[in-house]
Subunit: 699 residues, 2 copies
C-alpha cells in the first residue's frame, strides 16, 4: 500500500479478528461451578502466534520511528530478511521502501505499534498469517504504545453495600440490586480463612451448600495481595447478596465491591402513562447493560458464555438502547472464530444461521459495510460449511454431532426442521446482499437463487393449509403433523408469508391455545415481536406487564432466564436440577427494550445506517408515551398521546406513519393520506414536528 | 473405555499431537539473524487450549487419586458437570463411573496426570477437543507428576574450550569442533558490556560485522541471572569459535559451555580399510546428532527449522544410526500440524509428499502401525488437500502460492513437474497400504487406482524414449524438452522403471555429463542412493571421498550445507549473499551414514519392523569393512573382505545375498545359488555365520 498524507494517530494493529478471538478465549473459562472452572463445551479458537506486517512508504527525508510490539518483533526493509532489527527505535531511510515487521507471541495476540512523524501503524498497513493472505489489520481504540490490546479490561467503580446485618452469626451484605464485580475487604486482619457465599437472591446467599458461586481465601494470602490495605478478590462475580463466613480470628473494617462494567451511553429512553412499564423498561436496560461486557453474554452468573442465538437478541436490544457497535463487532468476530469449521456455533445448527442474520442486522442498523467487507470471506466459508448439510430435497438437516435446538421446549428436532430452513433462507438473502454490495453479482445471484429454492421447497413441504401454519419437521421424506409456532413466526418476521398466511398464522397459530405455548423468554422475544408486527400491541403490553411485571413483583432487580408464575417462593430460583441454577440476570430477559423501541416508539431503519427510517408509533393501550431511540450517531425523540405526536430527529430522513380518525394537522410538514385512516409525514433532521390527530380506537 | 487390570505406571496424557505442535511453536522462533528473531516463514500451528478427558472405571471399593494438570482442571463424575472439583486429591466412589476432566491452558498444551492404585492416566483414556472426536491421548515418557511435558528440555553437559588465545586484544576460544549450546561465564565481575561473536569457522568468529550469531549483555544483567557465580547465556547457539569483546572494566575467570543434545545411542558402526571413509562416517554421525534435537532440523546455525524434505533424509539416516523413533514421531506429528490445510508443508508442494513417504518409511523400518493408525485421519485429509491440485490431465500442479521446489538448481518448475507426480504416486501407494492395514479396502483400492493412473500418465507424458529418461515438466499440455535427473532418480528408487529403463537412466541420465549436474548435498543424497542401487558402489565411494573428504581437507568438523571444491578460502563460508551464510553443520550433509549402512553394509528391511530383512553387502572397492546396523531393537553385525563374510543378528530373519566367483561355503547355514554367481544364505537370529567366498571383480 502506498503511503498517503498521514494525519491519523498511530494505533495498535493485529491480524483481523485475533484480538477478539484471544479475548473470547479468556472469557470462555470465566464461568464457575461454585469455585471450580467450567469452560465452554465447544472448541475455543486461538489467535495466530506468528504474523507479519508490511507497509510501503516514500519519504523525502529519513525519519525516526518508535516500535512497540506485543510479543517479539523483528523489522527489515525491502525483503532483506537477514538484516533484521529488534530495536525499539530505528531511522528509516528516505525514498521508497517497504517495511516488514514479523511479530511472534505465543500468549497474547501479536500486535504492532509504530509511531513517527509520517510513518504510523494504522489500517493502511497489511498483515499476513503466512497463508497467502495480506489483509487489512484489525485495530480499535488502542492509540498509544502503553495502551496495549492484551491489557484490555472493563471499567470498574467502587460500590458500597446498601444494607448490612448479621445472620446466624455471619455478616450478610445486600448491595441493593443485582450487580457484578469484585468483592473487596478493607482492613482485613487476624488469621484464618474466609468463605464468601454469593447470591443473586437472598435465599441463594444463605445456602452455603447450594449457592452457585463462592470464594475462599486465607487472611495470609489476602495480606500478600492487598494494596493500600484493601484486598480485592481475583474474580468478578454476579450477585446482590454476600454472606461471609470467617474463622473466629479474622476481622475486617468493612466490605465493598468494585462494580465492573462497559461504560455505555444510555441512548434510549421511555416513559409512559404506566409506571410499571417504565420500571420494566429501566430494569431491562440495566439487565442488558450487565450482560454487555467484553461480548454479549447470556447471563452474568451463568453461563457467562457467548451464545450466538442469545447474542442475536442482544444485538437487536442494543440497537434500541446503547447502540454500542464495538461490543457488537467484537461478539460477531469472536463467534465466527477460526477455521476449520467442524462444529456449528456453540455446537448449534440454528446458531450458525443467527450469525448471518445478525450480520445483516448490523449492516442495516449501522450502515457500516467496511466491517462486512473485512469478514465477508469468513461468512462465505461458514455458508459453504452450512450448505454441506442439505439433504436430497435440498433442506438442511442436523448431523449426528449437531444440536438442532430451536427452543427449550419438548420439541423433536429430527430430520429437516422447518425453522432451520427459514433461518437458512434469511442467511442466504443476507449473503446475497453482501455479495451484491461487493459487486460479486455472480455470487449474489447464486445465493439468491438458492434462497428462493429453499424457501419454495419449505413453503411447499411444511405449510399446512388446513391448520394454517408451518409444520415443525420432516423425517425421511414425510412431514410430521406437529404444529409449532417457531417457523411461522420467523417466516412472518422475514416477510415470507402472504397477507392471508400472516393472518392465518396470527389466529390459527400464535393466538391458538392448542399450539404448544412458548415458555422461554428466549423465544418469547420473537413471539411478542411477531404479535407487534400484527398490530397486537395491546396484547403485548399486557404480556409485558404480566410476565416482566411478575418478576418485579417477586423482587427481581434484573430480569431472569425464565419465569413461571405458577412456581412458589424459592422454587423460582431453581433450574437445571439445582436449587439456584436459574440465572436471575439474563440478557434475553431484557427484550422489552426491543419491543418498546421498535414497536411502541416504532423506530426502524428503512435503509442501512438509518439514512432513511420509519417511525410508526403505537400507544398499544397507553394514554401517552415519550422516548428516544438512537439512530446511529443521531436519535429520534418522540412524544405521543391520543391527540398529538411530537417528533424530532437529528439525522437522516424519517417517515412518520400513524392512523387517525380524522384528518390530522401538522404545520411543520405535509401530511399525506396513504389509504384509509393511515397518514404519513416526512421528518427532516433538526426540525420539531407536532402532529394533531385523533387516535383510532381498536375494535 | 473399560478399566482393565492396571499394571502400567501413570503417565501424562494430552490431545494427540499437541505436545509436538506446541514444542514446534517454541522451536520455530529460535533462529536468529545475528541477535534478532527470524521466525519460520509459514503458519505456526497451535495446540488446543480447551480439552476434556474421560475414563470409565469399575472399582470394588472407593479409591483416592491424585490429580495434576498442566493448566486449570475440573473433574466430575457421570456427566454431573455442575458438581465439579478442582482439588488435587479426590476419593472416587466404588462401582462403575465415568470420570471426566476438563483441562484448560492457554500457554502450554493442556495435559493431565492422575495417579491412584488402580486409576491412572494412560493411553486407555480418551480425549476430545469438543469436536465430536474422542481419541486416544498422546503420551510419552512423562511418568511422574513433576515431570511435566511443558518442561521438556534437551540434555546438557559442560564442555571446556580446547584452546584459548588473544586476538586483537580479545579472547578467542576454540571448542575444538562444531558444537551447540549455551556459553557460560564463570566469575564474571566488574562493570560494562560484553559482546560475543560466534563462528562455525574461525573467520566467522573474527568477523564482528558479518558473523551470523552474536550475544550482547551487561555485567549487571548477568549478575542478576548468575547462579553459583556462573552466568549461562539464555540462548543456545551453534559454533566452534567465540571471540569475546568486553569493556575494559569487565573481567571473568573463565568461559565454558553447556553442550545441549539429545542423549542418543550410537547404534551403528562402520570401519573399513580406508581411514578417510571411517572419518567421514564418524563425522556424519556427529553431524546428524547435532541436528537431531526436539525435531530433525536442517542446520544448527541456520535455519534451525523443521523442513519436511530435509527431515525425510534425516529419518532415513537415523534408521541407519541412532534408530531414535521418538524424534522421528515428534517430527512427523509436528510437521503435519493442525487443520485447516491452506499451504503445503514449509509452503513446498514436494514437502507435503515427502511426509507421506516418510510415514511409509517409518512403518517399514519400525513396524509400528499404532502410530500410523493414530494419525491416519490427518494423512487422509492431507491427501485430500493435495489431490485438489490436479489439473485436467490428472497431474498435480503448484498453485500460485505454492513453492514447487524439487532442488536448489536452475529449474523452471512451472506446470506439472514430473518429480511431483512420482512423489505423489509414492504417497498414494503409502496411503493405500495404510488403508488396507486398517481394513478399509475401499479406500485402499481407490488410492491404488489413483496411483496407477497417475503413474501411467506420468510415464506416458514425460518418458523420452530417445533421451532415455523422464523430462522435467509439462506446461499447458506440452511436455518441455528439459531433461533433469530428479524424476528419473525417484522413479528408479520407487521401482517404477523397467530393467531397460533403469539401465537407460543410469547411462543416459545419471552418468551423462550433458544432463545438468546435481550440486546440492540435498539431492546428492538421492542421486548417490540411486547409483548404489545400480551397483555403482565404487563410484559412490570415490564420490564420498572426494566430496565429503574435500570438506574434511578444508578443516570441517561437521558436514556442510553445500560444498563447491572450486571455491577459494573463506569463500566456502558464503551463501545467500552473506559471507558466513552457509550452514557448516547441516543434517543432509550426513548422508554417508545412509549410503554406507544401506548400500555398503547393505541392510534393508524386507518386511515392516525388520521381521524379514536383506543383507546385501558390497565392498565397493574397499578391501574390508565391518560394521553394525540397528534393526529395530536388535542389530546386524557384519564383517567382510574379499574372501569371507561374517554375519550375526539379534532378531528377525535375514537373507544374506552376495556374489562369488566360486561356490561359497558356510558351515552354519545352507548356501543357495540364486542364478549366475549370486548366492544367498538365510540368517537366523542369535547365530554367528561365516561365509567363505571369492569376491567378483567388477569389469
Amino acid at each position: 500500500m502506498e503511503q498517503s498524507v498521514q494525519k491519523r494517530a498511530a494505533t495498535w494493529i493485529w491480524y483481523p479478528g485475533d484480538f477478539e478471538i484471544r479475548l473470547l478465549e479468556k472469557i470462555s473459562v470465566k464461568r464457575r461451578a461454585r469455585d471450580v472452572m467450567y469452560p465452554t463445551t465447544w472448541r475455543i479458537d486461538r489467535q495466530y502466534s506468528n504474523i507479519k506486517f508490511r507497509y510501503t512508504y516514500d519519504l523525502p527525508q529519513e525519519e525516526q520511528i518508535a516500535i512497540a510490539a506485543e510479543g517479539v518483533f523483528s523489522l527489515y526493509l525491502d525483503g532483506r530478511d537477514n538484516n533484521r532489527s529488534g530495536d525499539s527505535t530505528i531511522t528509516l531511510p528516505a525514498g521508497r521502501h517497504e517495511i516488514i515487521v514479523s511479530v511472534f507471541n505465543d500468549v497474547e495476540a501479536p500486535a504492532l505499534f509504530i509511531d513517527g512523524v509520517n510513518i504510523r501503524s494504522d489500517s493502511a498497513w497489511e498483515v499476513t498469517s503466512y497463508q497467502n493472505d495480506w489483509l487489512t489489520p484489525g485495530s480499535w481504540t488502542f492509540d498509544s504504545a502503553d495502551n496495549r490490546p492484551s491489557q484490555f479490561r472493563l471499567a470498574v467503580t467502587p460500590q458500597e453495600p446498601a444494607l448490612q446485618e448479621v445472620r446466624d452469626g455471619h455478616i450478610l451484605l445486600d448491595f441493593g440490586r443485582e450487580t457484578f464485580g469484585f468483592l473487596r475487604f478493607h482492613g482485613l486482619a487476624g488469621s484464618g480463612d474466609v468463605t464468601v457465599f454469593y447470591g443473586e437472591s437472598l435465599a441463594e446467599a444463605l445456602s452455603p451448600d447450594d449457592c452457585m458461586l463462592l470464594d475462599r481465601f486465607s487472611v495470609a494470602k489476602a495480606a500478600e495481595r492487598a494494596e493500600a490495605d484493601i484486598y480485592t478478590l481475583d474474580e468478578g462475580k454476579a450477585f446482590r447478596y454476600v454472606w461471609i463466613h470467617a474463622d473466629p480470628g479474622v476481622r475486617w473494617e468493612h466490605v465493598s465491591m468494585l462494580y465492573e462494567y462497559v461504560p455505555l451511553d444510555y441512548r434510549s429512553s421511555f416513559q409512559c402513562s404506566d409506571p410499571k412499564l417504565n420500571e420494566i423498561y429501566e430494569m431491562s436496560l440495566y439487565t442488558l447493560h450487565l450482560n454487555t461486557r467484553e461480548f454479549f453474554i447470556d447471563g452474568i452468573k451463568r453461563d457467562r458464555w457467548v451464545w450466538s442465538g442469545d447474542a442475536y437478541q442482544s444485538f437487536l436490544m442494543n440497537y434500541y438502547s446503547f447502540f454500542d457497535l464495538d461490543v457488537t463487532r467484537r461478539t460477531l468476530v469472536a463467534l465466527r472464530g477460526k477455521d476449520p469449521l467442524t462444529m456449528h456455533f456453540n455446537t448449534i445448527l440454528d446458531y450458525s444461521f443467527y450469525w448471518f442474520i445478525s450480520l445483516y442486522d448490523y449492516y442495516l442498523y449501522s450502515g457500516d459495510f467496511a466491517f462486512i467487507r473485512q469478514y465477508y470471506d469468513r461468512a462465505v466459508s461458514l455458508m459453504e460449511f452450512c450448505l454441506k448439510q442439505r439433504n436430497s430435497e435440498g433442506l438442511v438437516e442436523g448431523r449426528p454431532q449437531d444440536w438442532v435446538f430451536v427452543d427449550w421446549a419438548d420439541l423433536t428436532n429430527t430430520g429437516a426442521v422447518s425453522t432451520e430452513q427459514i433461518l437458512l433462507v434469511r442467511s442466504l438473502e443476507a449473503m446475497s446482499l453482501f455479495a451484491s454490495l461487493l459487486d460479486d453479482e455472480k455470487a449474489a445471484a447464486s445465493y439468491k437463487k438458492l434462497a428462493e429454492e429453499i424457501k419454495a421447497t419449505t413453503m411447499g413441504l411444511f405449510w399446512d393449509e388446513e391448520r394454517g401454519g408451518l409444520l415443525h419437521h420432516r423425517v425421511d421424506g414425510e412431514t410430521k403433523p406437529m404444529l409449532t409456532k417457531h417457523a411461522s413466526m420467523f417466516a412472518m418476521t422475514f416477510g415470507y408469508l402472504s397477507q392471508e398466511q400472516r393472518e392465518s398464522v396470527i389466529h390459527n397459530v400464535m393466538l391458538n391455545p392448542d399450539v404448544p405455548r412458548i415458555r422461554t423468554p428466549y423465544m418469547r422475544f420473537h413471539e411478542l415481536a411477531v404479535l407487534c408486527e400484527s398490530g397486537e400491541h395491546d396484547y403485548v403490553r399486557r404480556e409485558m406487564l404480566s410476565y416482566w411485571g411478575g418478576m418485579i413483583e417477586l423482587g427481581a432487580t434484573s430480569f431472569w432466564e425464565e419465569y413461571d408464575p405458577s412456581l412458589a417462593d424459592d422454587a423460582h430460583y431453581g433450574m437445571y436440577g439445582m436449587p439456584f441454577g436459574k440465572s436471575l440476570c439474563h440478557a434475553w430477559g431484557a427484550s422489552p427494550i426491543y419491543l418498546i423501541g421498535k414497536y411502541f416508539l416504532g423506530v426502524t431503519p428503512a435503509a442501512p445506517g438509518y439514512e432513511l427510517y420509519r417511525i410508526t408509533p403505537n400507544l398499544g393501550g397507553l394514554t401517552h408515551m415519550n422516548g428516544t431511540v438512537p439512530i446511529g450517531e443521531g436519535q429520534v425523540t418522540l412524544e405521543m398521546d391520543s391527540s398529538s405526536i411530537r417528533v424530532e430527529s437529528t439525522s437522516g430522513t424519517g417517515i412518520l406513519t400513524f392512523t387517525s380518525e380524522e384528518p390530522p394537522a401538522c404545520s411543520e410538514g405535509e401530511v399525506r393520506n396513504i389509504g384509509g385512516s393511515s397518514y404519513e409525514v416526512t421528518i427532516e433532521a433538526g426540525k420539531k414536528y407536532r402532529v394533531d390527530y385523533r387516535a383510532v380506537l381498536r375494535g
